[in-house]
């Protein structure tokens, strides 16, 4: 159901965008590991594919427009020891956490903490912002799952 007045701005691009980005990241994986493919263990491969999926999802969904995508890319870049950006956010995090400690609706807070652990970049957000990010994140995740499902179905032996 779609209400005419939706306070959360969640417009997620079409499946094609997600598909393109995912395939692009996968082929990048391929070029990186072109010489060492037989030696890969299963778990490494799985981790790489998973990381590729998340990174491509973050890029497809508008990389810098959303907090969760930004923090995802940030984490991924850190793991590759690339240059770390967005250092400015750390100061904002501490301020928000101080502010958050003053308010307390105990029912909300427990669940909000769990949600913050799940959604990337959730540690520095207020609860209302967290809800927006969760909505967008859920939509993007479901698109990514559909894309991957299509791929798997296409690739599985008939």
């Amino acid at each position: 159901m779609a209400s005419a007045y939706n306070p959360i701005y969640t417009d997620v691009p079409e499946k094609d965008v997600f598909a393109l980005h995912f395939l692009q990241t996968l082929s990048n994986l391929r070029t990186q590991n072109s010489f060492s493919s037989p030696d890969n263990k299963t778990s490494d491969r799985v981790k790489k594919i998973k990381k590729a999926a998340y990174v491509s999802m973050a890029r497809a969904a508008g990389a810098t427009n959303r907090l969760w995508s930004r923090s995802l890319l940030h984490q991924a870049a850190k793991r590759n020891n690339k240059n770390v950006r967005f250092l400015r956010r750390k100061r904002r995090v501490t301020w928000l956490m101080r502010r958050r400690s003053n308010r307390g609706d105990p029912i909300e807070d427990v669940a909000a903490e769990r949600l913050r652990n799940l959604v990337p970049g959730g540690g520095g957000m207020e609860t209302s912002k967290l809800m927006e990010e969760t909505a967008h994140y859920i939509k993007c995740l479901s698109m990514q799952v559909k894309v991957m499902q299509c791929l798997v179905d296409g690739l599985s032996p008939k």
């Binding site: 959360i8 969640t10 094609d16």
Partner: protein, 271 residues
């Protein structure tokens, strides 16, 4: 907010103070306009009327900006239960009169429709505590309403959230849904890695995608693209044998330009 906010206003006929309007911001004012249209342009009349009527309540000696709000009612509201215990009644000279009149009106308001009650002389108002905590409580209430609004949007997105009510249950559902989605991603990536042991995604994807039986609806276009991509496939296979990244880039460019055909979109649009 729409329906619940309207019902809330309808049942309690709360006068909306100008400061509350400020806190609500532009979104809130929009909502108020909607409510106004729903109630038949009563609210703005009543707001103006309230401001003019407060003078008749003999509240002038205590008229500050913060205290120009609302006097406590006898109405019990579940979400405002907390705030009621904190509230104290202001010391207003005409308090007794207004209270008695309001009690009458409170009884009537619960049974009548909003449009009738709002046209009466006495408007129901509700007191906040003292000066300092007024702003805080108002801000807190505005914040809580914002959060509940957003949770309603989340409820629309997450399937199966309609049955559970209450914030905690809904949040648990949302958390479970996010966790399940993440597990699905992990599971599918495991499947993908098993299906493609050498990470040869590119060629396999194309050939399997084009030959997929589910792309039948775009038969004619699919066959055309197939021929094009076949020629590119062989060249890219040669490139793979050489395993030079430059060739790979060139061929990946061609392949990506082919990817942007209708057949691919049809492949991914079929569920």
């Amino acid at each position: 907010m729409d329906l619940t906010g309207l019902k809330w206003l309808q049942q309690h006929q709360q006068m909306v103070s100008p400061e509350f309007l400020q806190i609500l911001g532009s979104d809130g004012r929009e909502e108020l306009r909607k409510v106004e249209s729903y109630l038949g342009n009563n609210i703005y009349d009543t707001i103006d009327g309230c401001i003019s009527r407060t003078s008749s309540f003999q509240m002038e000696p205590v008229k500050n900006n913060e205290e120009n709000r609302v006097i406590a009612l006898g109405n019990k509201r579940k979400p405002e239960g907390k705030r009621e215990t904190r509230e104290k009644k202001k010391k207003i000279k005409a308090e007794d009169e207004t209270e008695s009149s309001m009690k009458e009106n409170s009884n009537m308001s619960n049974t009548e429709t909003s449009s009738d009650v709002l046209k009466q002389d006495y408007i129901h108002v509700r007191a906040r505590r003292g000066e300092a905590t007024d702003r805080h409580s108002l801000a807190e209430r505005a914040r809580r309403e914002k959060i509940s609004k957003k949770m309603k949007c989340l409820q629309d997105i997450v399937p199966g959230c309609n049955k559970v009510t209450g914030k905690a249950g809904m949040l648990d559902e949302i958390i479970n849904y996010v966790q399940s989605l993440q597990q699905q991603v992990e599971f599918l990536s495991m499947k993908l890695s098993f299906l493609n042991p050498q990470l040869e995604f590119h060629i396999n994807e194309l050939s399997s995608m084009m030959a997929d039986p589910r792309s039948f609806p775009l038969h004619q276009q699919g066959s055309l693209d197939y021929s094009v991509i076949n020629s590119n496939q062989t060249t890219s296979l040669n490139a793979l044998k050489m395993e030079t990244s430059s060739n790979w880039d060139v061929h990946s460019q061609c392949l990506y330009s082919n990817l942007r055909t209708d057949s691919v979109s049809s492949f991914f649009s079929l569920k």
